[in-house]
Assembly symmetry: C2
Homo-oligomer: 147 residues x 2
């Protein structure tokens, strides 16, 4: 059987024909471990916490590569910074929820906007992005909590 000491993340990377570097494995695992999307700073902080700090540029390129390979996808946050999440585009159609209280971004994969709306004549949609803003389930429960 295939060597079991190689992480699933490493397998995914190798399957794309890219080199299996520590940076890519670490970044992909960080994204996979997080239930919400992360920006560059978040990822950099976790890399540093794991004892493997990387250059800012490397991080940008690594994340771009993951997106290019379909191993992650990105959305633009309200602070005009990009946020990344593992798992590709989820068949290209799903909604997000931005929590205005804690700032987290979650994917609502059950909601598929494209199927629901009729656009004016002449418009040819290829992709729809539906983002809700409000309070997430976590923050709703702990109403008094700050952060």
């Amino acid at each position: 059987m295939p060597t079991p000491d190689v992480s699933p993340a490493a397998h995914l990377i190798a399957a794309r024909g890219g080199r299996v570097t520590r940076a890519r494995i670490a970044v992909l695992e960080i994204l996979q471990d997080s239930p919400r999307s992360l920006n560059h700073d978040d990822v950099a902080a976790r890399l540093a916490a794991d004892g493997m700090p990387h250059d800012r540029v490397t991080l940008y390129r690594t994340l771009d590569w993951l997106v290019e390979q379909g191993l992650a996808h990105r959305i633009i946050g309200p602070d005009r910074a990009r946020r990344f999440k593992a798992g590709g585009e989820t068949r290209s159609q799903h909604a997000h929820f931005h929590c205005d209280r804690c700032g987290h971004v979650l994917c609502l994969e059950s909601i598929r906007p494209e199927e629901q709306f009729a656009l004016p004549a002449g418009y040819q949609p290829e992709r729809a992005e539906l983002v809700f803003h409000g309070t997430c389930a976590d923050c709703g429960r702990q109403r008094g909590t700050k952060a």
Copy 2:
């Protein structure tokens, strides 16, 4: 009757209690004249074309002021730049269409996403942003044209 040589834009500005400056009038008229949203560069270019170039910072502040006063609203484009449009938030709920061909952003005021979706329990949406990506009616007609 009230002096008819004052533009409607000037009236709107005066009604907010702000000073009626050439910059504000010009910027607001530019936004009102455009059927689609504009970024800072677009507005600056039109100001220059009208013979009244302004400082970049002034433009940022003028646009922020208009948003603050409810005379315009802004959205974040896919290039992480802000785009502005006259008319406030249109009752806070409407969709946008990003044309991937010409880069324009149009408002689809007839589509109101919030009314259509049921979120998972615990999520409290306050605002929904629905963005379609694809080809707009103009670009769809002139298929060969290179924008």
